[in-house]
Symmetry: C2
Subunit: 200 residues, 2 copies
DNA sequence: GAATGAGGCTTAGAATTTCTCTGTCATGGC
DNA sequence: GCCATGACAGAGAAATTCTAAGCCTCATTC
């Protein structure tokens, strides 16, 4: 059986907004701006030729059609979420935001993480910085650099090494303690080991 | 309840390929190239960190994981398809491929159909041509032009009019008889009437 | 064995979609 | 009246998706 499906990302935006009756809150949940949610829902309404929401100055009301649509969509997404969890228990919540030092940057490929590499699903494009405060504040999830620095309160481990002709430079991964052993971090570390060398 | 969802378009590609055990056939069903399906499935596998297919020189086999995933996905898409049908009975199957004459083109906005307009969900970017054979062969779904021409075997109707200072130019819509009254055509015609004038 | 066709893979770049940012508008509360 | 809130709109940036072309591994035919 072949399905005829509307824009799936638009459905996701609608479903989140319908649960909260708010583009603003849905945007936060989806990790995008409210303008993006607004555009997605509007495009979906145009495709379907139906009105799903009544817009108020401060929030949304579901139309009867929107109200009828929501339960099935929520159920479908629940099925997808549940079955995805069953086959891939550790689906990453989002990509890690990593900072890398200028020095380390020269050793990495220009478009690291390589788009076709599995790591790119777990780590976003890095920011070039060594500012620990960005990690402490939560703006970044971690830092990768070649210098060892004091990083009180954070996990600070030697995770890989760059073998050069005369010396071996260790790579340090500094991140909140809670993220140190998480799946994304583990994938990041093993990717670094395959690009460079183990800390051995 | 908030869902954690993998790339939905990737799921769509996987589900179609899994039903057919063929990227080629799935591509035909989805209206894209097999390369596109291949890339989508590969990206999904990378995100989930699982193998969903075993690739053979001529076709696919599902892995155990892929086999486990398929029924739930098919069910979720069936729910979405069914509930979408219930609220929007005439979801367009695809966008109409329309040819417009050079002359008519000068009267239309440069980026017609306007992306934010409802028509853009029903009609793709037009091709500039007056070649009726493209309609007969199925390469185009219809032609819009200002000259009346003989078009045996096709529907050939005056659908709107351009009011100029000294004269009124009718717009002719030529298409296969079967498409003349379909939803996309009707949206197209009413859009032309709102841009220009009724044939009155 | 050689030639050919089938279908998946890969890559680069084109095309499209999605996103962000900024400013506007209509409230709603003080 | 002022300010805050949240949806809307548009332009352009960013990301994703797509196409086209060529490569690879078979499987079949001559």
């Amino acid at each position: 059986m072949s399905h005829r499906l509307p824009p799936l990302n638009g459905l996701r935006a609608f479903e989140a907004a319908a649960r909260h009756l708010s583009f603003k809150i849905a945007a936060r949940e989806l990790g995008v701006t409210s303008g993006a949610v607004s555009q997605q829902v509007k495009a979906l309404e145009a495709t379907l030729q139906v009105e799903l929401f009544r817009r108020l100055p401060r929030g949304l009301l579901l139309t009867d059609i929107g109200q009828a649509y929501l339960p099935d969509l929520s159920e479908a997404f629940r099925i997808i979420s549940k079955s995805t969890e069953a086959i891939a228990p550790a689906l990453p919540a989002r990509k890690l935001k990593i900072g890398i030092s200028e020095q380390l940057k020269t050793h990495l490929p220009a478009n690291w993480p390589i788009p076709s590499d599995a790591l790119s699903a777990h780590v976003g494009k890095p920011v070039v910085t060594t500012d620990l405060e960005l990690v402490r504040s939560g703006d970044l999830d971690g830092l990768l650099q070649l210098q060892q620095v004091a990083a009180h309160g954070l996990s600070n481990e030697k995770v890989a090494a760059i073998k050069m002709p005369t010396v071996t430079e260790p790579i340090y991964y500094i991140c909140p303690v809670g993220l140190a052993g998480c799946r994304q971090s583990r994938v990041l570390v093993s990717s670094l080991i395959s690009v460079f060398s183990d800390v051995g």
